[in-house]
Symmetry: C2
Amino acid sequence: MALIVQKFGGTSVADPRKIKAVAGRVMAYHDKGHRMIVVLSAMAGETNRFIDLAQQMQKMPDPREMDVILSSGEQVTVALFAMAIKEAGLDAISFLGDQVKISTDSMHTKARIKNIDTELIQKHLDEGKIVVVAGFQGVDENNDITTLGRGGSDTSAVALAAALKADYCEIFTDVEGVYTTDPNIYKAARKIDRISYDEMLELASLGAKVLDIRSVGFAKRYNVPIHVRSTFTDTKGTWVVKEDKEMEDMLVSGVTYNKNEARITIAKVPDTPGIASKIFWPISDAGIVVDMIIQNTRAGELTDMTFTVPKTDYDRAMELVEKIAQEIGAERVTGSRDIAKISIVGVGMRNHSGIATTMFQVLSNERINISMISTSEIKVSCVIDEKYTELAVRALHDAFALEMENVPDE
Amino acid sequence: MALIVQKFGGTSVADPRKIKAVAGRVMAYHDKGHRMIVVLSAMAGETNRFIDLAQQMQKMPDPREMDVILSSGEQVTVALFAMAIKEAGLDAISFLGDQVKISTDSMHTKARIKNIDTELIQKHLDEGKIVVVAGFQGVDENNDITTLGRGGSDTSAVALAAALKADYCEIFTDVEGVYTTDPNIYKAARKIDRISYDEMLELASLGAKVLDIRSVGFAKRYNVPIHVRSTFTDTKGTWVVKEDKEMEDMLVSGVTYNKNEARITIAKVPDTPGIASKIFWPISDAGIVVDMIIQNTRAGELTDMTFTVPKTDYDRAMELVEKIAQEIGAERVTGSRDIAKISIVGVGMRNHSGIATTMFQVLSNERINISMISTSEIKVSCVIDEKYTELAVRALHDAFALEMENVPDE
């Protein structure tokens, strides 16, 4: 008998029929003797409807009031879900973020969980109930409703699992798990059976959208095993767990790409102390997130500064950078929207040299030019021309033999 | 400078455009220096949508979970409303029932308000904000969300006005006030300028749907003046206030009718002690509300028992009553759906005799047969054939000269 947290996203609870199907799934677990906590998102489409309504009222909707509206979405699904369970003859009870209570900071629309009371949930579990908790929402110290931002329900689920010391947390989604690369780009992509928290963190931060990155961070900190799997099949998904020996034997776990960034280069910048902060302070002040930064020092005292920003912020960033370039006496500014970032991720890299070199070689063999490189302990990222994205993904996937089952299934 | 509570119903906040219009109205009051509290319902149609969703999950939706869903409706409107105010450059803040907090008993879907904390609202009023409160909802001692039932937002508004010692409470609706009778039936109907709490209580209980009857009870107990008026015009509406001398000078304030009842007669009931409870216990046990009851003792020891039940419960009630009649040895059961209850209401009746007689005479002149009569201190009701409803209303309205302006406008 395990204590299990199961999270279902908006597409899994999009209408009454789907809610009933999901309830059936949860009850099957309950019947086996497990203690069940269910975390739900709003019905698919509701969040966008609310944002649209809000923007009709206020150009920049007030964040506190936005959270009051947004949080009403899960409020509806948890109650409908509890009703479905009760109709089937089992007992259930729904709780909102402030009832549980899930305490957060006061950063409305992107709050962070600080603490979760477990007493109320524990009490109702002890009474044999299936406990249904609204994901994505919490309450701050002013008793104001907060929301955790897109993907926040994953974080709610993992945080609840951590607080309640659940055996594991299952995240049900519309794909069957985490893949070695995007199956839409390369059919040879293989579902990964087990992946470490660190690898998943890299994959999530690089654009793999299966799991919200904050939930992986929580899971790592509190060592909560996560099982990412499909709502619509019974197939085993991907377990995100603590790193183990087997994982280290695999050099690369996955190849990922991100087409949402644009590149900006400031050429021939005088290389004086404090120049980087002169360039990047106005950009971050404008709320633009800079991802990769590389600096190539040229001969003499001039340097080239290249960095990436979200494509959606490219025009604003260019405008700012043109101004800055003039002020600091740089020669010129160039940039491109047509870039992609290709990354390989794997904990095995820690103990093996030559992985990055292999990557560069593979790309070079395909005559793909690399314009930026960045690395971490378990990741290598290269910025290339956007049009070579698919080619690069396939070539790297083949080169690191990801289509094969490297780790024997336990 | 007054402290004013204004309540707007679902049709007044049905879409973003209407919410903005209402916000403009409230801000005009604020600009004049008044301290404003706004109570809102869910957007028109939302409650029915929620009930429909719930019934798809559970044949008899769990009341606690039903309240979780229902209360999300006002949650959306109060936040949108606060945004509209902020967009216009004033300050506003929204509160839900549990935030205020509006404490109720635990009778889900029809809870009663027990207490309202005023501290939080007072604080934000003092800071110059327009305070927007979700109507219709509260919280019980388990921290569970409760709702007050249809029309509950009127009660929220009046209860808030009472708790905060507001100068008055304005209920905005889709009619211009309380009329001497239904203007759809008789064009001579006149808007009443001032009416007493007791008269309004009678009118509300007799089927005039302008104000929820519980809100009038609250207003009477705490002496809160209510101004019932139209959302869509600036016209002065009807003030519901403490009885005064002028009102007593008016014999009748209004004529009302109710077509939602059906009549059942048990003929020749043995007139033994306890017979009434034998008849009515099973009916009330089945959740059927009996309205009027009359008993005509015949010569000897037999009596006729006639009473009314809601039309929607007529079939169930007849089935029960047939069984009871056999058990108690009554001769037979008859009944009719085609009845209407016509009532005249006025505090002046207390001090004037002959009002009821005039009513009977007027109906008799029109050859309308009266099958049941019931009276209170300030009301006379007659049950007649449904088809004469309009004729009776017009005749009584004329007879008591209600089309004239009896009370001079102040």
